[in-house]
């Protein structure tokens, strides 16, 4: 039985947020000085474990609690309830031990010194992880080569493209050669080619060759499907499903999925589509609301029954059907069937 490297039990994080100020005059001023606080449960009693060498995905829309979960596991946040054990250490009681055995990669522009070169950035962080100078130098050369940055290694990071910065982020998380990697949306905002480079690196180099245990958060369902051994779908801070990608998709095997691309669709028709007989779930995503351009996803027991009814409704309402097809279930369909919303809503 493989060892559990990360394990959470009822892990919970609650944030306080200032409530909106209403009213006017002195009352408004008083409320601004002493605002009421409202609580937001960012992570709500989540339980999961990750086995050694596993690539585990946390899939959910923006604001679902993915980053908060990573921050709790890497000791940047202290939980309000529950526990998390990383490599045998409690994240609250032994934060320094946890920090030594993890590498954290975040997406975006932050987390690097832009006025230092790529090599200087890696050297700086290697020293904070107490890596001996000689080992650090060899490791940095190797890492830069792995992500094909060796030729630009001595240029300031501010001159790097977004994709290059992201590759540097990934290897920054590896300077201490940690057995565990926490990757928070590592392909966020990258062009498809750069994202593919990062994905291949994670799967082929980090998991297959280096046998790292990886927690990977994303809101790209294709990425989770392609990379992860198991996936937890998270929404409003709660894990609503957890299994292998295949098993998750099997959950909706008995559901037919129809995707229709239309123009001239009115926003008020969204509810009416959901009310069509035989439709179990429907989601309308407007790509250009001004011209009514949208993609409709319909879950039904039998596609052949709802297709005529839906097309008839759409034509009557003045919409123009651009494309209609029956598709295979994806992780997004799993999310729709569980929440009634699209992942990117």
């Amino acid at each position: 039985m493989p060892a559990r490297v990360i394990e959470t039990q009822n892990l919970t994080k609650i944030f306080e947020k200032k409530a909106k100020t209403e009213g006017g005059g002195l009352r408004r001023l008083y409320k601004r000085i002493r605002p009421k606080k409202e609580q937001i449960v960012a992570v709500d009693h989540i339980n999961f474990y990750i086995n050694e060498g596993e690539l585990f995905g946390l899939l959910g829309p923006n604001g679902a609690g993915k980053t908060t979960t990573i921050k709790l596991l890497c000791t940047l946040l202290i939980p309000d309830e529950g526990t998390a054990i990383v490599n045998g250490f409690d994240v609250v009681k032994r934060p320094e031990e946890v920090q030594k055995c993890i590498g954290v990669v975040t997406g975006g522009e932050r987390g690097l010194y832009w006025r230092l070169t790529g090599r200087e950035n890696l050297w700086f962080f290697s020293q904070l992880y107490n890596v001996p100078e000689k080992v650090a130098k060899e490791r940095i050369d190797k890492l830069l080569k792995l992500v094909e940055l060796e030729e630009r290694a001595d240029e300031q990071v501010e001159k790097y493209s977004r994709g290059m910065k992201q590759r540097l982020h990934v290897v920054r998380g590896l300077v201490n050669d940690p057995p565990i990697l926490l990757l928070d949306e590592p392909t966020l905002g990258l062009d498809p080619a750069s994202a593919r480079v990062i994905r291949d690196f994670i799967k082929e180099e980090l998991q297959a060759k280096q046998k790292k245990t990886i927690l990977h958060t994303t809101h790209y369902m294709e990425e989770a499907d392609q990379l992860c051994d198991r996936i937890a779908i998270i929404d409003y801070g709660k894990i609503i499903a957890l299994d292998t990608p295949e098993n998750l998709k099997k959950m909706i095997q008995k559901t037919d999925i129809v995707e229709i691309k239309v123009s001239n669709l009115r926003q008020e028709d969204e509810e009416k589509i959901g009310a069509i007989e035989g439709v179990k779930k429907s989601v309308v995503a407007f790509t250009d609301a001004t011209v009514g351009e949208a993609t409709i996803k319909i879950h039904a027991e039998k596609a052949e029954e709802i297709i005529p009814l839906t097309t008839e409704f759409l034509i009557k309402s003045g919409a123009r059907i651009l494309m209609l097809e029956q598709t295979k279930p994806t992780l997004e369909d799993v999310f729709i069937s569980l929440t009634g919303r699209k992942l990117r809503d």
Binding site: L76, L77, I78, I102, T106, Q127, Y129
Partner: protein, 273 residues
């Protein structure tokens, strides 16, 4: 405590700061120019009134201009160390690197001290240029009999000012207003510590505040050593409170920093500006 680990952290932070500093040419220019008018303003203010002897008996022993030179040097040291040490963690926030820094298993006190000491590279230029200007343009003649006493004064003052930075670092991270707080402290510190006049010229009540500020003791000790041929005996009453304050500020600063780190991790405000 792991000395090798702390040394690696110290060296990394020190060298990083040096590289960041030299990567901005404007910073270097500002460092060269900034202290010079500050000294000149204070000196010409006095010269407008006449000689030190004409102004007041309290100024006589110091010879006026020398007093201002020493006061300005210590004040600049305070300023540099407050920014270098106290604001260093907050500036990680501005650079977007505070989270990755807090992810590393480092001793944050070492990060603060290394940041503070690296800022002395700038400060050393300021000290040199102010003493040089004081001597070359305004004719200040130092009167030193004990170099060890001068050395002790400088080290004690720097240690105390570094500890002030450590003390404020936690508050700066907590309030997320390092810029405003550090700037807000400048004028009161300059006034109460007697940068351009002896503290004895202040009303008794205000002097009580002055003696709560380490800068006051640093200025007083250095003036005695550099201008009045002071030895260890004459500076003992300035150095003792300096060391006492250093201990207190370091201990309270370390505790505050731990509390603040926990608070920000609890509230989730670590990365917020």
């Amino acid at each position: 405590m792991n000395i090798t680990k702390d040394w690696r952290t110290f060296k990394a932070v020190f060298l990083r700061n040096l590289k960041l500093y030299t990567s901005y040419r404007a910073w270097i220019i500002a460092t060269v120019i900034w202290p010079l008018p500050l000294l000149a303003v204070n000196i010409y203010q006095y010269m407008a009134f006449g000689t030190a002897a004409d102004v007041s008996d309290t100024l006589k022993p110091y010879g006026g201009i020398g007093m201002i030179v020493v006061g300005t040097v210590v004040y600049l040291l305070y300023n540099r160390l407050l920014w270098g040490t106290g604001v260093s963690i907050q500036s990680e926030r501005w650079m977007g690197t505070i989270e990755v820094l807090f992810l590393t298993p480092t001793n944050k006190m070492i990060v603060l001290i290394a940041s503070g000491l690296s800022s002395l590279i700038e400060a050393s230029w300021w000290i040199f240029s102010i003493f040089f200007l004081g001597w070359a343009i305004f004719g200040v003649q130092p009167s030193i009999t004990s170099w060890p006493a001068v050395f002790t004064c400088v080290i004690s003052t720097m240690a105390a000012l570094l500890s002030v930075g450590v003390f404020f670092a936690g508050f700066f991270v907590l309030t997320r207003a390092a810029d405003q707080l550090a700037s807000g402290l400048q004028a009161p510190i300059r006034f109460f510590s007697g940068v351009a006049f002896p503290v004895s010229a202040l009303p008794q009540m205000l002097q009580c505040i002055s003696y709560l500020i380490p800068v006051t003791y640093g200025i007083s000790a250095l003036r005695k050593c550099v201008l009045l041929s002071g030895d260890f005996g004459s500076i003992a009453l300035d150095i003792a409170p300096l060391w006492f304050m250093t201990m207190i500020f370091l201990i309270v600063g370390q505790i505050t920093l731990r509390i603040v780190e926990r608070q920000t991790k609890k509230k989730g405000t670590l990365y917020l500006f």
